[in-house]
Symmetry: C2
Subunit: 171 residues, 2 copies
Amino acid sequence: MKFGIVIFPSKSMQDKANSFRKRYDPHYALIPPHITLKAPFDAAEEKAKEIAQELDNIVSEIKPFTLKVEKVSSFAPVNKVIYFKVEKTSELEALNEKLHTGYFEQEREYVFVPHITLGQEMSDAEHSDVLGQLRMMEFHHEQIVDRLHLLYQLEDESWTVYETFQLGKDC
Amino acid sequence: MKFGIVIFPSKSMQDKANSFRKRYDPHYALIPPHITLKAPFDAAEEKAKEIAQELDNIVSEIKPFTLKVEKVSSFAPVNKVIYFKVEKTSELEALNEKLHTGYFEQEREYVFVPHITLGQEMSDAEHSDVLGQLRMMEFHHEQIVDRLHLLYQLEDESWTVYETFQLGKDC
C-alpha cells in the first residue's frame, strides 16, 4: 500500500489553509493541510512497523524547530499548484534528505520546496485569478514543529495516520 | 478546542467501512473509520501535551488485544446509526473506563457499545432499508489492535491526529 510522511502544522494554520483548500483543492477532504516530507511510496502493509522503527531513528536526532510561513506562491508553469511557502530550515532539509536516502532511498521528482498546498487542478484563468488575490494578502505564521506523521492511503485515496514521531528525543 | 480519542482499525476494515460510509454517513470525509473510545471533549490547545502524557500512562498498562467484528447493527430507535458491532473485550472496557475517570473524568451519554459507524442521519425508510440489507451480509474481521490516537477538531469539523499511543509498553 501507499505510505506518506508529513508534518501537520498547528490548528490555526490548518484552519487558515482549509479556508482556501475548501474552494480550490480537490484533495481537501482526503487529508488535513500538511507539509509533505516524502512523497507517497509503496510498501507492504506488514512493513509498517519496520518503517516506523527506521523513522524513529531518524527523528530522534533532529531537534524541534520553528516553522515560518510568510507568503503564497505557485509552482506554475511546471504545476498549477498554489501554496503557502514554508521557510526552508536546516531541520526540514535534513529530514527530507534522510527520508530519501539509506533505508528510505527514493528518487525525488522535484527539488524540495517545503509548502502547504492551498489549491490545485485549477484552470489557467482560475489559477491566475486566485494566485493574484492571495499574493496580495499578508500572512505571518510562526510555530514550533515537534512531530511528524507516517500515513497510509485507503482505497478511496484518503489518508489515515499510522503513527506520530516526536523530534529530538536523543538531542 | 475539541479533542477525541479513537482506534483506527486496519486498512482492510477501513476500506470496507468506507464503502458504506461513502453513501450513508455524512461524516465520511471528516474522519477515517474509527472506534470512539472517548466522545469529543473540550480542552485548551496548550493542554495537548498534558493530555498526551496522561494518555501515555493509561495505554502503557493495557496490552494489545484482538478486535473482532462479526455483524452490523443499529442504535435505533434511540439513534438511527448503523454500525459494525465490535466485540467488547476487557481491554476495550478498561480503556473506556480509564478515559472517563480520574484526569479524564467525563459523564457518558450512553452505555459503551464499541462500534464503527457505517451510516447516520438517514430517513426512517432509508435506515430500515440499508439495515435490512447489511444485516443479511456476512462479515468476519479479526485483527490485533496495538495503538490508539488522540485527535483534535478543526473549524470545518474535520479531525487531525495529534499523537499515536502504543498499547502495552509497560506490560
